[in-house]
């Protein structure tokens, strides 16, 4: 897989003269929060990105985060809270525009391109917890899945096919066995709608009792208009032979003229796991309402009220919790 990643980097770099106008931006983010779930967490990310050569961009990100309760998904929306400094993404990327077409190749270490997958889609976006099926512990498509390999986007801007080939390089507690990964995502864009179909065939989790391949399929849809954004994903798959996980979530973001620095958010979701054709427990259901408020001095406040129903986990947790998180984000160098 290192060969694939290296080859992609070479393609990115081939034939590119050193540009006179190289640029680099660094960004630091520090977040801290607490929940009435009797958990608190703190995390930090450092990013560097820009143009390394004419037409070639780079992105690198390192993260550290720690939670007082590793089994709780509070603040775990896009980064592992395991108390270790880890490289999250590190890649080079080049985009070509031959005529009306779009071709983009990325090589290195990057997030698994399944569904709505970028860090900025999930991290501190107003929700302090990841959707159920994107949480490490739920044997589905974790937000902490990473690939070592190459990623190719081809098409026209309104319709693109993204293909990633690589090896699992996950962070967090849900770590897949080594092996060849293949991820496909078809994305279409029309007016206010962006829709995607994803499929992934990969190795099963190391923690799975049964070895074998895992496969997941999903649909995602986004709609935005005049400050209102709705998005959702549906996913089903087999973390290993004989087991099935499926779930969905739907999010709404409201940021209208007159709301100033406030964005209101809401989420409903459901997740279910079956083994040998039988559901293990009641489907887990959760509803979230909250706000994200931009404050002065590069601060952002997130406040969520979370209500859970069904599943053993919900019974072990408080049915309703209040989550509060504060994020400080700056660009010291640009």
């Amino acid at each position: 897989m290192k060969t694939i990643a290296l080859a992609a980097c070479v393609v990115c770099l081939t034939g590119t003269p050193i540009a006179h106008a190289q640029s680099m931006t660094t960004e630091a983010v520090v977040s801290a929060g607490a929940s009435t779930d009797e958990v608190s967490a703190i995390g930090a990310q450092l990013r560097a990105f820009g143009d390394v050569m004419s037409g070639v961009r780079f992105f690198g990100e390192a993260a550290w985060a720690k939670s007082s309760n590793d089994d709780n998904d509070f603040m775990g929306s896009a980064y592992p809270y395991n108390g270790r400094v880890q490289i999250i993404e590190a890649y080079a990327e080049r985009t070509f525009r031959p005529g009306e077409a779009l071709v983009s190749i990325r090589g290195g270490r990057f997030r698994t391109p399944f569904g709505i997958y970028s860090a900025s889609d999930h991290a501190y976006s107003g929700f302090l917890r990841p959707p159920f099926f994107r949480y490490d512990e739920h044997e589905a498509v974790s937000n902490n899945f990473l690939e070592h390999g190459a990623d190719l986007v081809v098409g026209v801007p309104r319709l693109t096919l993204e293909t990633a080939l690589g090896a699992p390089a996950d962070v967090g507690t849900a770590v897949r066995r080594s092996g060849l990964d293949a991820v496909f995502r078809l994305q279409g864009y029309y007016g206010p709608f962006i829709a995607g179909v994803s499929h992934m065939r990969t190795s099963s989790l190391k923690s799975a009792e049964v070895e074998g391949r895992a496969d997941f399929s999903g649909l995602d849809l986004r709609w935005s208009h005049n400050g209102i954004q709705a998005r959702g994903e549906w996913m089903t798959g087999h973390p290993f032979a004989g087991a099935t996980t499926h779930g969905w979530y739907a999010d709404t973001f409201v940021h209208l003229v007159g709301m100033g620095p406030v964005t209101a958010v809401a989420r409903v979701e459901q997740f279910e796991r079956e083994e040998a054709g039988e559901s293990e427990e009641e489907p887990a259901r959760r509803q979230v309402i909250g706000v994200r408020i931009r404050l002065p001095r590069a601060l952002t406040l997130n406040v969520d009220v979370v209500h859970r129903m069904g599943s053993v986990e919900a019974e072990e947790s408080r049915p309703t919790t209040l989550d509060v998180g504060l994020t400080w984000s700056v660009r010291p160098h640009k």
């Binding site: 976006s125 801007p157 962006i194 935005s224």
Partner: protein, 194 residues
């Protein structure tokens, strides 16, 4: 006695020659913008000229690239349409709610763009609702005579018809906008925030 007098007359004629010959001469206004003793890049300077004839600004673009807006400061004449292409593989949600033009562009993927017509003068603060460190300014002015200072604080407003103008200068972070009067015979224009 005649030679110095002739030289003065010739010099005066050379400065005023375009105005005298065409009746609507134009000069390039060169200036510098400084703040706190150093250069003030991205300062916007414009001259009041609400009834000036139309002048093409070409395609005006405020790009979203590398999780940043480029340029950071843009100045356009009232009525100009600015294209907002997404040049990143992640989504952005560009919006402006304060003063100036209010809009929300929603989500659109890499390789696509959405236009906004800035149809009223004033300052528009541009943000991305997904990436909190992305910010830009669009200053819309009711005049074709404007410029943005470069990294050294230097600026040039080209083809300004001879005359007397009220000038304005704005830069992000400054407590106040500067204004004054400039006449073509003044030569260069020095803007300074103390």
């Amino acid at each position: 006695m005649i030679r110095p007098l002739l030289a003065v007359v010739l010099l005066a004629f050379s400065v005023a020659a375009p105005a005298s010959l065409s009746g609507q001469s134009a000069i390039d206004l060169h200036g510098t913008a400084r703040a706190g003793g150093g250069p003030a890049p991205d300062t916007v300077v414009w001259l009041d000229a609400p009834n000036a004839p139309a002048r093409s600004q070409g395609r005006v673009v405020l790009d979203q690239r590398n999780l940043s807006f480029s340029p950071h400061v843009l100045v356009v004449r009232t009525g100009t349409t600015v294209d907002f292409p997404n040049d990143d593989r992640v989504f952005h949600n560009v919006f402006s709610f304060h003063d100036g033009k209010a809009f929300d562009l929603g989500l659109y993927p890499v390789g696509t763009m959405r236009p906004i017509k800035f149809d009223r003068p004033g300052l528009s603060r541009i943000f991305c609702n997904i990436h909190p460190n992305m910010a830009a300014y669009v200053m819309t002015v009711d005049s074709p005579y404007f410029a943005r200072a470069d990294e050294s604080g230097a600026f040039t407003i080209a083809d300004v018809p001879a005359g007397t103008y009220k000038y304005h200068a704005w830069r992000s972070g400054a407590a106040m906008e500067l204004a004054g009067t400039w006449t073509a015979t003044d030569g260069s224009l020095a803007i300074s925030w103390r």
